[in-house]
């Protein structure tokens, strides 16, 4: 089982990387871009078990280490 965790800055936190990418896209002529947020992707391979249990476990990993709740939020996808 693979857990994909995407970690991004909270909407309230200024993301200068996202802003820079946004501007670069516009300079290339991509006009329809409303907002860009930059984040990181963490792939975790897990041993067996149920999807629900895996999600719970990864949730704990996020809270303890993978994301900093003060500035970041996370989304978990189990495949």
């Amino acid at each position: 089982m693979i857990a994909r965790v995407s970690v991004t800055l909270k909407p309230s936190i200024l993301d200068p990387q996202g802003t820079t990418i946004h501007q670069a896209l516009e300079s290339l002529g991509f006009k329809g871009v409303k907002r860009v947020r930059m984040g990181k992707l963490i792939e975790i391979e897990l041993q067996g078990g149920s999807k629900a249990a895996a999600k719970k476990e990864v949730e704990r990993m996020c809270q303890k280490l993978l994301a900093n709740p003060i500035v970041e939020m996370y989304r978990i996808e189990i495949k």
Binding site: L9, I13, L14, L66, N68, I70, V71
Partner: protein
């Protein structure tokens, strides 16, 4: 007095701290490897600058899990003096020993240069040798020094007077132009509520001898000596 300088894999300012404390201020210093749990009876623990664990995941995020940090947290809880410089500050934030978090500099650049900071309080173990409002010339060298905290946290910090240093211009004025990294309220250094744990982005250990261009940072270490001597 006895200082303990913690060494994480990737620390690179540990020997600078040792030099200032041992050779310049003539104090006893021991190096504490991050796998150690004993602080060996130190009066003050220094978390030095560098790139602990290569800054992987987030600055300080892995270092906070080191065995030595458990002891540092217990030491701090008992009122022991802890100073985190640069990466050390980032580790203290990640460990929850100081409120808030660090973001990348708004310029997205690593900044390595002298800045000026204003001393906001002089009644602390880390600043008692300075004058109120004194402007210090200290070097910074970081990519993640853009301090942030939520509105409630900022209010708490302000009410308790936890900000000890703010980025300012040469005249001591806090301006946007004098803020090198976008740090909230120009915060360059802050302490915990009890006042015994300090985190600061500028490097006092790199500015403790006139031959290095500034000796303004020496006052931070002399303040620690003074406060321990007066205990």
């Amino acid at each position: 007095m006895k200082f303990g300088v913690v060494v994480f894999p990737g620390s690179n300012c540990d020997q600078d701290c040792v030099h200032v404390l041992r050779d310049v201020l003539e104090q006893e210093v021991v190096l504490l490897w991050h796998q150690e749990s004993s602080l060996r009876g130190c009066d003050c623990v220094v978390l030095p600058g560098g790139f602990s664990y290569g800054d992987y995941l987030r600055t300080g995020a892995i270092a906070k899990l080191s065995p030595v940090m458990k002891s540092v947290a217990a030491f701090a809880k008992d009122g022991g003096l802890v100073i985190g410089i640069c990466n050390g500050f980032q580790i203290l934030l990640e460990a929850g020993l100081l409120p808030g978090a660090m973001l990348r500099n708004t310029s997205l650049r690593f900044i390595c240069r002298y800045v000026t900071v204003r001393v906001e309080r002089t009644d602390t173990p880390f600043t008692n040798r300075f004058q109120p409002g004194q402007v210090l010339r200290l070097p910074i060298a970081h990519n993640e020094g853009n301090y942030t905290v939520d509105a409630a946290g900022l209010k708490r910090i302000a009410e308790r007077g936890q900000v000890l240093f703010r980025y300012c211009d040469a005249d001591g004025q806090v301006t946007d132009a004098a803020n090198p990294n976008g740090s909230l309220e120009a915060i360059a250094g802050l302490c915990n509520e009890a006042g015994n744990v300090l985190g600061m982005m500028p490097h006092p250990e790199r500015a403790s001898e006139p031959s290095l261009g500034s000796a303004d940072g020496r006052g931070v270490f002399e303040s620690i000596l003074q406060s321990v001597a007066c205990r």
